[in-house]
Subunit: 110 residues, 2 copies
Amino acid sequence: MGDVFKALADPTRRTILDELTDRNGQTLFEICSRLVAKHGLGSSRQAISQHLDVLEAAGLVETSREGRYKFHYINTTPLEPIVERWLKKAGKDAGDRLSTGAGTRREGST
Amino acid sequence: MGDVFKALADPTRRTILDELTDRNGQTLFEICSRLVAKHGLGSSRQAISQHLDVLEAAGLVETSREGRYKFHYINTTPLEPIVERWLKKAGKDAGDRLSTGAGTRREGST
DNA sequence: TTGACAGGCAAGTATCGGCTTGCGTAACGT
DNA sequence: ACGTTACGCAAGCCGATACTTGCCTGTCAA
């Protein structure tokens, strides 16, 4: 299983997800064409193909073959838990800024 | 301004955010110690320092100096919009699977 | 003032990741 | 059958990045 975060690290892959959000179930060549047309990206077919592999390994894209066509579908399921991880506790200790730290400085050794 | 996604791409940096979520406002040495103790990571001080720089550049960590101590605070604000980007339209075209793609195969040429 | 502590800066190394290049394969049209 | 189309595989290249190494600055306690 690939790393969802690393899959999202590349701007091109994020644009691909944008493109699949706009129109789900595109083929490789479709994605290539539309990346050039709408986003001005001049990536080669192989490059996009490898990006799609990464996205698929991360579970963000699912595929289905139909004859010689392979359709790509976005899957946002892996996206849901990744931010909750840090967002949950957010807000509770906002504003602690310079107060909490004062009591913690004794730590950090051996 | 650093890239939030690239900042999240590294597992060590994610663990640092976990650690700051657990206890906000830690110093560098504190973070180093607790990473070793609780997570078994043997990263050097400089390595962690550089990770914190990346996190700070991405806006995920804010700092405040107090004497010779520098305290680190997590900031989840940049996390909120990044997933919404694709999550918003999710669910609306789920189940389209093999139907939508069939009509799109004429594209992708020139 | 001296020494220990917390942290910063910069160069070098090494691994990883994105991209290209070239060829191969399977499905379609005619 | 033959050529075209859509895609896969694998090796190599090169820039990015994570980590180390070494030294330096500033702060505090005694």
